[in-house]
C-alpha cells in the first residue's frame, strides 16, 4: 500500500478521504503487544490444524503398550522419539496435542460460526420486527441466560445424546444470547440514525436495509464478541469432553484427553495431566488477548 499524497490539485473528495479503515485498525491493533502475541499464537494453531498430518510424527490413535507413559525428552527415561512423552496406552502426546487443534480449536470455531449465524439472524429479526416476535425471542434468550451455561449444555447433550457434533450444537445454543442481544441493540441504535431513514426513504427494502445498511455497522462489536466467544466455546467444549459427554475417545480433543488422564494424577505421570490443560489455557488466553485487542482497536472510544 502506498501513502496517498494529498496535493492541492487533487479533487476535494480525495483530499478528505480518511485513511483506509484497515490501516487505521492495524495501527491501533499492532500497538497492543498482547493482542499481536495472541494473533501469532492462533496463527500457529491454525497452521497445526491445516498441516497436522505433516507436523505430527505419529497418528493420534493406535496404542503401543511397550512404550506407555514414557516421560518427556528432558526427563530421565525420555527420548527424542516422543518429545512430550506418551500417554497411558503409549500414544505420542505431541502428536495428539497437534491433532487436538482440529478438535478443540476447529470445533470452537464451528460453534462460534453456528452461533453467530443463528444469533445474527434472530437479532436482526427481533430488531426489525419488534412487538410480539421480539418479546418472544428476548424472553427465550433470558431463559438461556438464567441457566448456568454448562448445565444447559449438559441438558442439551442429554437430550441429543453425547458426541462431538451434539456438543457443538449445545455450546452454540449456550453462547447464542450474546449475539442476539448485541445485534438487536445495534439494529435499534442504527435504525434510529438518519442514514437508515434516508435509505428507507430512497426505497430500500427491508432485507436490503438489514444486510446492506445495518449489518455492516454492527460488524465491529460482532467480531470482538466472536473472538471472546471462541474462548468460551473452547472452554465449554473441553469441559463437555472432560465430563465424557463431548468428543469421544480416541479423538484427541484436549478436554477428552484430560478425562483419560484423570486417573494418573496420583502417580508421577504429570505430563499426561499437565500438557493438554496447558494447551487449552494458552489457546483461551490467546483468544482473550486477541478479543481485548480487537475491542480496543475497533472501538477506540472504549479504551480505558
Amino acid at each position: 500500500m502506498t501513502v496517498q499524497a494529498s496535493t492541492p490539485t487533487q479533487s476535494h473528495e480525495q483530499m478528505s478521504a480518511p485513511p483506509h479503515p484497515f490501516r487505521e485498525f492495524w495501527g491501533y491493533f499492532s500497538a497492543n503487544k498482547g493482542a499481536v502475541a495472541g494473533l501469532v499464537f492462533i496463527s500457529i494453531l491454525v497452521f497445526c490444524i491445516l498441516f497436522a498430518d505433516l507436523i505430527a510424527p505419529y497418528g493420534f490413535s493406535g496404542s503401543n503398550t511397550d512404550i506407555r507413559l514414557t516421560p518427556p525428552v528432558w526427563q530421565e527415561g525420555g527420548s527424542f522419539a516422543h518429545i512430550l512423552g506418551t500417554d497411558a496406552i503409549g500414544r505420542d502426546m505431541f502428536s495428539r496435542l497437534i491433532y487436538g487443534t482440529r478438535y478443540s480449536l476447529a470445533i470452537g470455531a464451528m460453534v462460534v460460526a453456528l452461533s453467530i449465524i443463528v444469533g445474527t439472524t434472530l437479532g436482526l429479526v427481533a430488531g426489525f420486527a419488534r412487538g410480539m416476535v421480539e418479546t418472544v425471542i428476548l424472553r427465550v434468550m433470558d431463559i438461556i441466560l438464567t441457566l448456568p451455561s454448562l448445565l444447559l449444555a449438559l441438558v442439551i447433550v442429554a437430550i441429543l445424546g453425547s458426541g462431538l457434533y451434539n456438543a457443538v450444537i449445545a455450546v452454540a445454543v449456550v453462547i447464542l444470547p450474546h449475539y442476539v442481544r448485541l445485534v438487536r441493540a445495534s439494529v435499534i441504535t442504527e435504525t434510529a440514525k438518519d442514514y437508515v431513514t434516508a435509505a428507507r426513504v430512497a426505497g430500500a427494502g427491508r432485507l436490503r436495509l438489514m444486510f446492506r445498511e445495518v449489518l455492516p455497522n454492527c460488524l465491529a462489536p460482532l467480531i470482538v464478541q466472536a473472538s471472546l466467544g471462541m474462548s468460551t466455546a473452547i472452554l465449554d467444549t473441553a469441559a463437555l469432553g472432560f465430563l465424557g459427554l463431548g468428543a469421544q475417545p480416541p479423538l484427541p480433543e484436549w478436554g477428552t484427553m484430560l478425562a483419560d488422564a484423570r486417573e494418573f494424577i496420583g502417580a508421577d505421570y504429570w505430563w499426561v495431566v499437565t500438557l493438554p490443560g496447558i494447551a487449552i489455557l494458552l489457546t483461551v488466553v490467546a483468544f482473550n488477548l486477541l478479543g481485548d485487542g480487537l475491542r480496543d482497536a475497533l472501538d477506540p472510544k472504549l479504551k480505558s
Binding site: R139, P148, V155, I159, F242, V273, N288
Partner: protein, 336 residues
C-alpha cells in the same frame, strides 16, 4: 424502594413461566414418550403403557398436561427420581447446602483477594504491579477450571500431601447434619479435629471455584477504580486534606464498588457452571454431582426438577444482587 422491588419481581415472572415451560418440554424432547423414559431400559407392556399414560394424564393435550405440571409444582411436587425413587425436592434439599457452602467460600476467596488486587493495580497503574495483576487475571479467567482442579490435587494432595483428595470430611467423623454446612456442623458436633478436617477438604475446591470470579472481580475493580479516581469528587476529597487511605478506601472504593456488585451478580451463573466441574473433580457431594449423575443415568425427572430449581435460584440471587445494588447506589435507592 417497595416499587423498585415490585418492578424487579414483575420482570422475573415471565422468565419464571418460560423456565417452567422449558423444564416441561425438555422431557418431551427426549425421543420416546415419558413413560418409556420412566420405564427406562426395562421395557414395558403395551397395556401397562396405556394405563400409565392415562394415569399420568399423558393422553391429554399438551396444554392440559402443562396445567397439571404447574399444579403439581405449586404443591411442591417436583417429581421423583427414577433411580432412587426419592422425591427430587428432598434430594435437592439435602445436597444443596454442600454446593452453597462451596460457592460461598469460593466467593469469599474471590472477593478477599480480587478486590484488593484490583484496587492495588489501579493505584499502581501501568507499573509492574499492575501488569502482574492483570496478567494473573487474564490467566485466571482463561482457566479451564477442571484442569486447574486436577493440577492442584496433583500438587497439594498427592505430591505435598497437605490436603485430602475428595469428599467434604474425613470418614473418621460422623454426625447428623444440622445446618448442612459442614464447617458449622463440624463445630457443633464438638468432635475434635472435625472442623480442621472439613476445612482442609474445602480449601482446594473453594480455590478452584473462586479462581474465575476472582479474576473477573480484580479486572472490574481495577477499571472501575481507575474511572472513579479521575472523578471530580475525588479531587474534592483530596482538596479537603483527607489522608490518602481515606480518599481511596472510602470515597473512591465506595463508588467503584457499584459496578463491581453487578459483575458479582453475573458471576453467580458462572459459579454454578464451575460448581458442576469442581464437584466432579473433587467428588464433592453437591447439586452439581447430582445433576451430572442424573444426566449419565438419564434420570430425566431429576434433570427437569434440577433445572427449574437452579434457574429459580439464579433468578433469586440476581434479584438479591439487584437489591444490594440499589442499596449501595443512593441514586437508585431514592429516585424510584
Amino acid at each position: 424502594m417497595i416499587r423498585f422491588i415490585f418492578t424487579r419481581l414483575s420482570l422475573i415472572i415471565p422468565t419464571f413461566i418460560g423456565l417452567t415451560l422449558a423444564a416441561f418440554f425438555l422431557i418431551r424432547l427426549v425421543p420416546g414418550d415419558p413413560i418409556e423414559t420412566l420405564a427406562g431400559e426395562r421395557g414395558i407392556s403395551p397395556e401397562r403403557h396405556a394405563q400409565l399414560l392415562a394415569e399420568y394424564g399423558l393422553d391429554q393435550p399438551l396444554i392440559v398436561q402443562y396445567g397439571y405440571y404447574i399444579q403439581r409444582l405449586f404443591h411442591g411436587d417436583l417429581g421423583q427420581s427414577i433411580v432412587t425413587n426419592t422425591s427430587v425436592w428432598t434430594e435437592f434439599k439435602t445436597l444443596f447446602p454442600a454446593t452453597l457452602e462451596l460457592a460461598i467460600c469460593a466467593m469469599i476467596f474471590a472477593l478477599v483477594i480480587g478486590l484488593p488486587a484490583g484496587v492495588f493495580a489501579a493505584l499502581r497503574r501501568n507499573t509492574i504491579v499492575d501488569q502482574g495483576v492483570m496478567g494473573g487475571a487474564l490467566i485466571g479467567y482463561s482457566m479451564p477450571i477442571f484442569w486447574w482442579g486436577l493440577l492442584l490435587i496433583m500438587l497439594f494432595s498427592n505430591t505435598l500431601g497437605w490436603t485430602p483428595v475428595n469428599g467434604r470430611i474425613s470418614v473418621m467423623y460422623f454426625f447428623e447434619p444440622v445446618t448442612g454446612f459442614m464447617l458449622i456442623d463440624s463445630l457443633l458436633s464438638g468432635e475434635e479435629g472435625a472442623f480442621a478436617s472439613a476445612a482442609s477438604h474445602l480449601v482446594l475446591p473453594a480455590v478452584v471455584l473462586g479462581t474465575v470470579p476472582l479474576a473477573v472481580i480484580a479486572r472490574m475493580t481495577r477499571s472501575s477504580m481507575l474511572e472513579v479516581l479521575g472523578e471530580d469528587y475525588i479531587r474534592t476529597a483530596r482538596a479537603k486534606g483527607l489522608p490518602a487511605y481515606r480518599v481511596i478506601a472510602l470515597h473512591a472504593l465506595r463508588n467503584a464498588l457499584i459496578p463491581v456488585v453487578t459483575v458479582i451478580g453475573l458471576q453467580i451463573g458462572v459459579l454454578m457452571t464451575g460448581a458442576i466441574l469442581t464437584e466432579y473433580v473433587f467428588s464433592w457431594p453437591g447439586v452439581g454431582t447430582w445433576l451430572l449423575q442424573a444426566i449419565m443415568r438419564r434420570d430425566y425427572p431429576v434433570l427437569q426438577g434440577g433445572i427449574l430449581l437452579i434457574g429459580c435460584m439464579v433468578m433469586l440471587i440476581n434479584l438479591l444482587v439487584d437489591l444490594a445494588y440499589s442499596f449501595i447506589n443512593p441514586r437508585i435507592r431514592s429516585s424510584r
